[in-house]
Symmetry: C2
Subunit: 459 residues, 2 copies
């Protein structure tokens, strides 16, 4: 057994206690009252990097919460990996739904319950301990590593792109490793190799300068909420297919072989339906749920507002109505092109009796699909097989991780997404938890990864 | 000149000062911090009734704000009129849009600016002074009168129906006089003889138990906001015609003669459009704006909510979506029948992949259309002609005054709607005002009304 692996095996329980100290810090990035806690969490990460044996450890201020950086660069001729994670967490509310306090980490039935346990403190910790295992037993790492742990992921990483752009030379690497995703099911460790892209719009429809009395004016002027409903109902047909002309033109067709691979994954639609509590599943005809989620684009209404939404009745004829509409894009779709098609379509179908404003309100996310036969991908597959004792599956996610696109764009290197979360671990919800078996096997996998990557030609 | 008329002519300016003292009381019925002001306003009305010479004046407690009652019943053999009005006002917010304070009554260019000036303190005051003119100059009234001035009109009169039901004997009358409406234009005094009815619903659509992440789940489950948009867009066609089967079956057809009368009224669509600030007028094909507003039913979305409506972007797939939908009903439509047709239609068109709840959330209002040749109506027309020096026009309103239906149902007597407001006097909005010419001529008309009614056979 490799000494680093033995090191991790021996400390399994001690590591859980150590992770608890990280999870006790309420580093909620969205709330200004936690500014001090954010600093504390950054210091926890920096201290932990130093104990691990990393060098050049520093807490770098940004316009928002600081970034923590550290590296170890004494493996000349070997690949350099940039590890990305985040130390901030989602707000814990509603507090009354937590069985034990969100910042009082507690183990029950092999799971660590705490805000941030899986998203993303546990996964950052996993990497820190895997590096420690190498450095404490060997005095060295098989590869060069750089760590970039930010504090603003849960608020959309507003200062990360500028930070990466500014420090491109320092962050230069051959591969990026990101552990902030989930595997498809317990016992099925995996590699995420695809993400959907994202564009996000706000549609504002104005009928009249101000709200009117629905009795005095109703019937003689357009109702902007009705105009909005008409527009929205013409974005998809009754079968859930998006009706924007040209929308599907560039969507990558799923090869039969990939389809079969998806069908073999440990995923049941029945269980999925039960988890979300829907009366029925619904989506584009001719595709399975996994295909819909991972390989097909979607258009969703994220928000809707007009007039009076309090309790009871108010006879107002609203002056304005608003919808937030976003699209998740499948591989090969171009966010700029789809944004143009969407805007044109909405303008075309909008009744002429209202004023329309279509505004793009969030950064675009590129869809991402990495080849599974890339040498770095295969190295990670090897590492996971050794760490979990199981051949990993290749999965995708329907979500968007903008930092992947940033790394692709700015550093021009492949990203490896090695997530050890589970779909039911309540990231962003009460009773967030982390499976401690997965933490342990993830740590082993991470330790193996550096050995595997050392043997891989990446340049 | 009748002494009562002379009395009013002589006191034109003094009356304005007196009305200001009423308007200075911030009797906002919806806000609990104004409970003391509500009592003060009720006392102002009661004191004013006593000064006028009314008898049995009392402030009657209800489950909410009190009702003020007074009467004068010494004209045996003559008709009895019940005068209804309200002493409560709408909230004044947004305060920064008022040129002078809402409770600091100020005269500019022949208009009294104050919250409640036209709705409804000025119109209650008009009746008090017309009665005073008779009682102070003659020691008597030509008819019997009862006054019922409530304090909860602006919050939907929740305690008025029980009050009227309980005191039917005391309130017994031959005719009800209500001054809480507007004339169609300055210089065109009128009588409102028609109202639309009202039914009001909330539609709740549930897709999943809770909100989901739009990336992880979008495309594989129905979006309830989209299902709601589909439902709403199927309630009216693109021409604004309501598509609920059977909806128009009972709508009273407008006789050609009434159509011609409407067309002669001093109303221009251009000015109407400018007032509401709409890019275009819009409504049921084949009808003028006035016909749409007064004689045709309408279906309006009053409120719309789903998901995230704050600033910026949140990638939520909402679990639920909600709409408030109301219908204004034309004469001969039965609220109970239309409520049934609406509910059936919504259930029929709702996608089966969501849970639907349709709830009626407000009392039903019957449409109302009174014959213009009724003797009481003709008496009021005479009074207005004398008071304003102009033949009144018969108008309707697209709104609903539930108390009219209550009086019709419980007291079984005709209602006379004699409003002296103007369409642009900002009732319910900042800079509410009252035209002082209209107040004066309205007072004269009210004084004449009692003489005219004394000569009218109503029993």
């Amino acid at each position: 057994m490799h000494p680093a692996i033995a090191y991790i095996q021996e400390r399994r329980d001690a590591f859980v206690e150590e992770l608890k100290t990280f999870c006790r810090i309420p580093s909620v990035s969205t709330k200004s009252e936690h500014k001090g806690d954010m600093q504390k969490a950054a210091e926890w990460v920096a201290d932990s990097m130093r104990v691990t044996g990393l060098e050049h450890v520093q807490i770098v201020p940004t316009a928002g919460h600081p970034v923590v950086y550290g590296d170890w660069l004494h493996a000349p001729g070997k690949p350099t990996a940039l590890i990305y994670g985040h130390y901030d967490v989602q707000p814990a509310e509603p507090l009354d739904l937590w069985i034990t306090g969100p910042f009082d980490p507690t183990v029950r039935d092999g799971e660590l319950y705490a805000r941030g346990a899986v998203d993303d403190k546990g996964q950052v910790f996993m990497h820190l301990k895997a590096l420690e295992a190498h450095l404490k037993t060997q005095g060295s790492l098989p590869v060069n590593v750089k760590l970039l742990i930010e504090g603003e992921e849960e608020i959309g990483s507003p200062n990360l792109d500028p930070f990466i752009a500014k420090h491109q030379d320092i962050l230069k690497a051959d591969v990026v490793v990101i552990s902030d995703t989930a595997m498809i099911a317990k016992g099925a460790p995996g590699i995420t190799h695809g993400l959907r892209g994202l564009i996000y719009f706000q549609i504002d429809v104005e009928g009249t300068k101000s709200d009117l009395h629905s009795g005095s004016f109703g019937g003689a002027v357009i109702n902007p909420a009705f105009a909005l409903a008409q527009i929205l109902s013409q974005l998809k047909d009754k079968n859930g297919r998006i009706t924007i002309p040209g929308f599907y033109d560039d969507v990558r067709r799923l090869p039969a072989e990939e389809r079969r691979a998806l069908a073999r994954l440990p995923f049941t639609e029945k269980k999925f339906q039960k988890t979300i509590g829907a009366p029925a599943l619904f989506g584009e005809k001719g595709f399975t749920t996994l295909e819909r989620l991972w390989t097909r684009p979607t258009l969703e209404i994220n928000g809707l507002y007009s007039g009076f939404i309090g309790e009871g009745a108010k006879t107002v004829l609203p002056g304005r109505a608003m919808a937030k509409v976003s699209m998740r894009l499948a591989p090969n779709q171009d966010p700029a092109k789809i944004a143009r098609l969407f805007t044109q379509h909405v303008k075309r179908i909008c009744p002429k009796t209202v004023r329309l404003k279509v505004t793009e309100i969030s950064g675009r996310g590129m869809p991402w699909l990495a080849p599974t036969d890339h040498p770095a991908m295969q190295a990670m597959a090897q590492a996971i097989q050794k760490g979990f004792g199981k051949k990993p599956v290749f999965t995708r996610t329907g979500g968007t991780i903008p930092v992947v696109a940033t790394f692709t764009r700015l550093l021009k290197v492949p990203s490896l997404l090695m997530g050890i979360g589970l779909p039911d671990e309540n990231a962003h919800a009460p009773n967030e938890k982390l499976d401690l078996d997965n933490l342990h096997h993830g740590m082993l996998s991470a330790a193996h990864l550096w050995n595997e990557l050392a043997e891989t030609k990446l340049k």
